[in-house]
Symmetry: C2
Subunit: 177 residues, 2 copies
């Protein structure tokens, strides 16, 4: 049976792995992506249009560079340029996967506080559904980590699906992803 | 393209309307059901298996009956019997809709605290996805109303989709549904 209505536009917030480094997607967002393909999109590849958003947190990305010396405005420019390239490589993974499966998609990066930027982009782009992966941390760990998924469920102006990382995928330090 | 894998099992928590009374589904859960059909199931009716759970709160159901006189154990039995029948009529709405659309489904009722029973049933039934409607109340209103969706997002052992009631569907008193 053909799907005559407009495709369902699914926006997905994706981020880098803190373990495997550039340009690997985090365990949470990769597992959320796989889940979405197998459980929602299924064989109905024409019925969905995927929108990938990567929000870069400038401070966090620069965290490993405590020994770097910034001596001129150009040094910051090149750092920003490098961050941008990392983000684009991350998105490349998802766009390639969609292309392989024949699913239409778009991807873009933004800078800022992920939870606020995600909700702002939902308002701007108006997807039918927002998908957010979650590490499934306890309340104590969440306080220090921003709880992006919790914020989005409350504030995003569209239905939100929260997909927790599976227990058997949790790394030794659950804060890693 | 045929979908060869097992259908995606979607569990949905449904409740009665506080406005229209028996046996109408609440605005939130009806809108969540319609959204799920048009945006996720789409034309892929063979790819999904829907599971409807109605959790009855005995105290709440008896609230209108402040003038009733309970004189014997039989009076309670008949109240419980009546509650059960109301729940069954509510489920009938969803089962009929699925039957009309050719989507396989199952429906059942349980008694207890909705948020705890829902998470318990997720553990027992192991659906791929839990759908919960939400009135989209603010933090002050939520304190007094249990925040079923918020609890399920944190505690249910499967991905959870929260679908907020639309602004144009909110009744005069937002606590109504």
């Amino acid at each position: 049976m053909a799907d005559s209505s407009a495709p369902t536009r699914v926006m997905m917030a994706v981020n880098e792995s803190s373990l495997k480094g550039y340009p690997h997607p985090s365990i949470s967002c990769r597992s959320a992506f796989d889940w979405m393909l197998s459980k929602l999109v299924r064989s109905n590849t024409d019925g969905f249009h995927l929108l990938f958003l990567h929000v870069q947190v400038p401070d966090e990305d620069g965290f490993d560079d405590v020994d770097s010396i910034y001596a001129s405005p150009t040094d910051f420019q090149s750092m920003k340029q490098r961050d941008k390239i990392r983000g684009i490589h991350l998105l490349e993974y998802f766009v390639n996967e969609c292309h392989r499966l024949g699913i239409k998609c778009e991807a873009w990066t933004k800078q800022g506080d992920p939870k606020e930027v995600i909700c702002h982009e939902v308002k701007r782009v108006q997807p039918d559904l927002l998908v957010v992966g979650s590490r499934g941390l306890g309340p104590f760990q969440r306080v220090f980590l921003g709880a992006v998924s919790e914020y989005c469920v409350k504030h995003a102006e569209c239905p939100v699906i929260t997909i927790k990382r599976k227990a058997n995928e949790t790394p030794q330090d659950p804060i890693d992803d």
